[in-house]
Amino acid sequence: MVTVVSEAPTQAPAESRKRALSILGVLAALAGGVVIWYGVGLLVPRFPLAHEVVASGWNLLVTPSSYVDLLATFRRVLIGFVGATILGIPLGTLMGASPIWRGLFKPWTIGALSIPGPVAIITAILILGIGESSALVALVVSVLPYVSNIIMDSVGGLDHALDDAARVFRISKRDKWRHVIAPQLLPGIFAAVRTAFALSWKLVVVIEALGTSRGVGSQMQRSFRVLDVAEGIAWAVLFTLIMWGVEVLVFKRIESHLLRWRPEVRAI
């Protein structure tokens, strides 16, 4: 039970007015977006109008083969971000804990960080040939440095004041790790995982467009190639919505739980 320390006088009317305004703001922004969309659609020759995209999207949803592509992409996202996390966490820890390793790997992480998605897949294909493995390698290599950087900063930012308290009260090494150090690293690990996921699904689309035959990205590419813009946009929107869904349902929930001890839990 969280006990409130001091009671500030509740400002009920101001609060709800604020909320109303903010919801209004979001709606207005979206409405504005739709208006702009129609405007552009009317002006630009091949640009589809909103309802055309919706129709296309519906069409995709009822076509069974779409799900093959969606699943293929999702599989790659999963392998990519898990792979980047599994490799990135140890690397980040190593780099955070020891300046020697940091110096050794720093140029590589910076380099990998700067390589654009398409270049990564191009290089991977030319080295490994066309296939699933090159796509996955490109994905992992691109995402990994982000993970390792976050972990590295996390390890470097440990609070040593709490270490003193642990020493004075003679807390065992195991307990110290479990109660003092790990909880400090946890937000970093979580941030790294969430970032890796967000990055993976955006990157996978580009990688697929260039390097694979099935998957959301390649379908998008194909649609645009045959000038069926509505379908291309539909693919993108569909995929984006699904991924947003995952981010909200999975990651936000975990985040609130992990951070429930913070005085103000502000979901970003």
């Binding site: 039970m1 969280v2 006990t3 320390v5 004041a161 709490l162 004075v168 009260f169 807390i171 005085p263």
Partner: protein
């Protein structure tokens, strides 16, 4: 200045010719000798940087002295063979609370109880007892960051006491609190002290605080870091912070200190 009385009880904590510091050639404190009797409340008084915290670190068994010995109950803290698990239990209250913000109050205290070898089944009762003593039992399941500064320090004190320590070390625990809260805390600390009978070593830079709280005051000074005076505070308990006697003693200590500083800086005219 009162003279030191003859001690009637055997010394509990003995410090002999202690020299401590972080580097062998550069001691922070030199040749400090003092004794503390069981159940006493003593204050270590001194300006910033004079090595008060270093002294505490050495007393806590975590920083071996460069020279000299520390004995607790006749046993040398550093040189005698102390088996694992038999290390002296002590409580420590830091200037900043040093509670784990991601654990509840109860969990924080439970953690140190476990380290002190107290079986899990007994934890709840002990924790509640000490929280009650500090008037914060209602915060048993609270998150530390949801509490005020004063309340967090109470938790910190409860934690220090809960392990049933041989002695308690406090490093300027009230210096970050506002004056009103600090006054309340000092009062309550004395109540807790008389209720529990613990030996307390309290570091502060506030002369009045030291006079209000302590049975004896050890005055430290810098350049070089050393113990320049031991002061007995004979003012009877219960003391009032605004007591005239306290103010008098405070003035005496200040005059004494200025004289001391006059000696340390030969260019200046020493206070008469």
């Amino acid at each position: 200045m009162q003279t030191t009385e003859e001690a009637t009880a055997p010394p509990f904590i003995e410090v002999e010719h202690l020299t401590t510091g972080y580097e062998p050639g550069k001691p922070v404190l030199s040749d400090v000798s003092l004794t503390v009797r069981q159940g006493e409340f003593v204050c270590i008084l001194g300006p910033s940087g004079c090595g008060k915290s270093t002294l505490l670190s050495t007393l806590s068994g975590l920083m071996p002295p460069l020279e000299g010995t520390i004995r607790i109950n006749q046993r040398d803290l550093y040189r005698d063979e102390i088996k694992k698990g038999e290390e002296p239990r002590l409580g420590y209250v830091f200037q900043d609370h040093r509670l784990l913000p991601w654990r509840t109050v109860a969990q924080n205290i439970s953690l140190v109880l476990k380290a002190a070898g107290v079986p899990d089944a007994d934890h709840e009762e002990i924790i509640r007892h000490y929280l009650r003593m500090l008037h914060i039992e209602q915060f048993y399941d609270s998150w530390p960051l949801n509490l005020s500064g004063g309340q967090r320090q109470r938790v910190s004190i409860a934690r220090a006491l809960a392990v049933d320590p041989l002695y308690v070390l406090m490093d300027e625990p009230f210096s970050t609190l506002d004056e009103v809260t600090a006054r309340t805390m000092r009062q309550e600390l004395l109540e807790v002290w008389s209720e529990s009978g613990k030996t307390i070593i309290f570091v502060t830079h506030s002369i009045r605080e030291a006079v209000f709280l302590a049975d004896r005051i050890f005055g430290l000074t810098t350049n070089p870091g050393r113990l320049y005076r031991t002061i007995d505070v004979d003012i009877p308990r219960i003391r009032d912070y605004e007591d005239l006697e306290i103010a008098q003693l405070e003035a005496e200590i200040i005059a004494d200190l200025l004289e001391e500083w006059g000696q340390a800086a030969p260019a200046r005219d020493g206070a008469g």
